[in-house]
Assembly symmetry: C2
Homo-oligomer: 348 residues x 2
């Protein structure tokens, strides 16, 4: 490894001057600088980030913790973050927790040792506790919130998105609308559930507990929940299903197929979060789409600009709108399918 000192010798100056030539060019004379840059180039010098960060007591890195990289939603989130970070010359340390608080804890500890300048996290259910261990670096929570005081959040309007979806079902004439909700110790699930209730309330439809089933956000959970809901006696059985995340929606659709129930003639389905799968399956799925990439990108920019004081501080908490996309999986209870491709933008 070629070091500052090697470059210094080669250019016949001190290491201090080399350092300055590289990071504060205006402090060194034109001629000297040229000579130094030349030498650095010749030797293929690459600064040692470890030494630099050690000395400066902070590194140009960020931590990113997500819960499931195999979920395209999270992969997209990660790409948004990475792109935003790269644009500002930050490197991101990337961890995957599989929703496991223990893994999250380990990730946080490892991260600490690398002195990241900030942290982006999709918090696990126990994040609030885990985050206490972390020294006070700027944190942005994305997609959901752990409720930790003082951290910024970047999320979508979950309640609004859910409400629109359920309203759509109600307008089509559905009265028995089931929901597969997700874990109620995760804020997104709570908020989507809230939206579901609001829509029912607004339409004067009583909330029925037995139509709302929790799930652990995995495909298999969605499948089980859908099987349970759809094996209720005919008059109790929901005529429409609202599913709280993309993976569970896949499971629900598979369950429906297993049971030989036709979509949308016998059952309408709306999912939360769009995906290629949802758009191209048959019948194409009506969904509440999220600006996923933007969510990640914006979260990272928020963090970054809260680091450099020069920038005007962005708001503490950001909510992005969802987009409701009507496709082919929803129709009136007994009836005909509606036209496709209609989009509606939510406000909150």
């Amino acid at each position: 490894m070629v070091s500052l000192e090697d470059v210094a010798k080669h250019a016949q100056v001190s290491t201090a001057t080399v350092s300055r030539a590289l990071s504060r060019p205006e402090m060194v004379a034109e001629a000297t600088r040229e000579r130094i840059l030349q030498a650095a180039r010749e030797l293929g010098y690459q600064p040692n980030q470890l030494a630099r960060s050690l000395r400066q007591r902070s590194s140009r890195t960020l931590g990113l913790i997500i819960t499931d990289i195999l979920n395209p939603f999270h992969a997209t989130l990660a790409k948004g973050v990475q792109d935003a970070a790269e644009k500002r010359d930050y490197t991101v340390f990337f961890f995957n927790t599989d929703e496991d608080p223990e893994k999250e804890k380990r990730a946080l500890n490892v991260l600490r040792g690398h002195l990241p300048r900030g942290l982006l996290i999709v918090p696990s259910p126990k994040a609030r506790e885990n985050l206490k261990q972390v020294p006070k670096i700027p944190i942005v929570e994305l997609d959901r919130t752990s409720g930790t005081p003082g951290v910024r959040t970047v999320m979508v309007d979950n309640a609004g998105g859910a409400k629109t979806a359920v309203q759509h079902l109600i307008e089509l004439g559905h009265r028995r609308i089931g929901m597969i909700v997700g874990r109620l110790d995760i804020s997104t699930a709570v908020e989507r559930h809230q939206g579901y209730r609001e829509a029912l309330l607004a339409a004067g439809i009583p909330y029925r507990e037995e139509l709302v089933l929790p799930g652990n956000h995995r495909e298999e959970d969605g499948r089980q929940a859908a099987l349970a809901l759809l094996s209720l006696p005919k008059e109790e059985r929901p005529t429409a299903l609202f599913v709280g995340n993309n993976e569970m929606t896949v499971g629900a659709v598979l369950a429906v197929r297993e049971l030989g129930i036709r979509i949308p003639e016998e059952l309408s389905i709306v999912g939360f979060d769009d995906s290629r799968w949802a758009a191209t399956m048959h019948p194409a799925l009506t969904v509440v789409a999220q600006p996923t990439y933007e969510l990640g990108f914006l979260a990272c920019e928020t963090l970054l600009s809260s680091l450099s004081r020069g920038q005007a501080a962005l708001p503490t908490s950001i909510r992005l709108d969802t987009t409701f996309i009507v496709r082919e999986s929803t129709a009136p209870p007994g009836g005909l399918s509606k036209g496709l491709g209609k989009q509606r933008r939510n406000r909150h």
Copy 2:
């Protein structure tokens, strides 16, 4: 940040002893060690990895460079790598190149500054050149190879997998089999193309250049290529399509739908690489499945064990078998669909 020195003061010993108590416990007297560990716990001490790595001139980190995190194949690869690394207490620095050699170059440079102990890379087309810049750390290429001498590779048997797929089509009676091949400066595409040719050759079917179209691995490329192939005059038009990667397969299927061509009655399709989409679309897609997670996991283990000399050195180059999964998207040229769910394991 609480440092070794803080712990040392608190436990009334020197920093040297604290360091040893933590990393070489057997060198420190029982009682002293206890006292130190206690102090460390009380203060919430977390070692500064930067300082440690600087001193040891190497860090417990790996670099991972993939080309497209949004592609589930690559996301799965990354998860395999991460899991393997975590098991051995390594942290991975993660980069995404979007197949862009410039981004790859930048990633490599950033990586250098962090002194990773090894590098895992899905090489971009220009990787061979970029890798020259990198000091000689152990490198494992995964999924494809750049041809750089001296690096290990972990890949699947692309030629064998492709050959099986095309043989299957031939057995069904197809004679005009098109291929959407991918970029020929990427080894996987070359090998899959090779397998395609071999299968034709073995069956005495002449290779027809006009039935083989390149694509840039994206969905849209697959769509364009399929549109081109399928708008050939009736007698020239392929009756079956073999598509070289998952994203292009999606595009091809969408193109087929646009044209109103029925699968498999009017056109058989086989894709390389399985996915949820392929398994659940209608009709379910016949594919050459890859052991993706294992590919990543194994690549990382290979790298790690080449680092610790104690381990028996694993072979330089690993090939994993693909699995051919017959589903519903293939049938005889004019005819009836075959049974589904049949699997066949390849050998090479």
